[in-house]
Amino acid sequence: MIDVFTIVLIAVATLAGVLCVVLGLVGRKPADLTILSLVAVEVLLLAQVVISIVAPFTGDHPTGNLGEYWVYLVTACLIPPAAIAWALADRSRWSTVVLGVGALAIAVMVYRLNQIWNVQLA
C-alpha cells in the first residue's frame, strides 16, 4: 500500500460521507454532487485494487493475511455501487444519507485494510 494514497482515500471517503449525510439531513435528494462523490470514492478504490496487485511485485508485502485483505477490498468495492443504485432507485433525502453512510463505511474499511497490510500479523 502507498501511505499517501491511503490517506487520500480515507480523507475523500470521509469528506464524501460527511457531505452526503449533511446534505441528506437538510433535505437534498441525490444529485450530481452527492452521487459523483461516491463515484470518486469508487474510482480511488479501484486504483487501490491496482496498487494492491502491483505492490507485492515491488517488494511491498502485507504483514497480515493477503486473502483476508482481498476479501475486505473486494467487499469495499461493492459498497459504493450498491449505495448509488439505492440512491438512483429511491430519490429521497434519506438515500442521500445512505450514500453518506456507504462512504463513511469505506473510510473505516480502508483504515482496516491498512491495518491488515501494515500492522496485523498473518
Partner: protein
C-alpha cells in the same frame, strides 16, 4: 401482529437503519467467515460467536427491511444482549472466550478481533449503538400503532 400497511414504503430513518445494518452484516460476515476458514483454531469460541452474530445481523437487516416485526425484536434484542455480554467478558474474563493470551486491543482490532469484543470497539461501537437505536425504533412503531 404487525398492523403497519405492508404496501407502504419504509419511512426515511428506517431506511438508514436498514442500510447501516446491511453494512455491519456484510462486514461481520466477511470477517468472521475469513477468520473461521483461515485460523479457526486460534480462537474457536470467539470466532464461532462472531459467526452467530453475523448471521443474526443478516436476519435483523432482512427483518427491518421486510418488516418481520417479531424477528426484528428477537434479532436486535439478541444482538444487544450479545454485545453487552461478550463485550464485558472480553474485558473482564477473556479466558471464557479463549482470548486470555491476546492483548486487550487485539481482541477487537487484531487478527482475533470479533464484532462484539470490547463492546464493538473494532467497529466504532456501532454494534453497541445500533441495536439500542433499533429497539427504540421498533418500540416507537408499536406505540404509534396501538395509539
Amino acid at each position: 401482529m404487525s398492523t403497519r400497511r405492508p404496501s407502504a414504503p419504509l419511512r426515511g430513518p428506517a431506511r438508514i437503519l436498514v442500510a447501516v445494518y446491511a453494512v455491519l452484516a456484510i462486514a461481520a460476515t466477511g470477517r468472521s467467515g475469513f477468520q473461521i476458514v483461515d485460523r479457526f483454531a486460534e480462537a474457536p469460541v470467539a470466532f464461532s460467536l462472531s459467526a452467530v452474530a453475523a448471521v443474526v445481523y443478516i436476519l435483523a437487516t432482512l427483518a427491518l427491511a421486510f418488516r418481520w416485526d417479531a424477528v426484528a425484536w428477537v434479532t436486535i434484542g439478541f444482538e444487544l444482549l450479545g454485545v453487552l455480554v461478550i463485550g464485558a467478558l472480553s474485558i473482564a474474563a477473556p479466558d471464557v472466550l479463549g482470548l486470555g493470551d491476546v492483548d486487550v486491543l487485539d481482541r477487537a482490532f487484531g487478527r482475533e478481533g470479533t464484532v462484539w469484543a470490547l463492546f464493538g470497539a473494532g467497529y466504532l461501537c456501532v454494534p453497541l449503538a445500533l441495536p439500542i437505536i433499533g429497539l427504540v425504533y421498533l418500540a416507537r412503531g408499536r406505540r404509534s400503532r396501538v395509539a
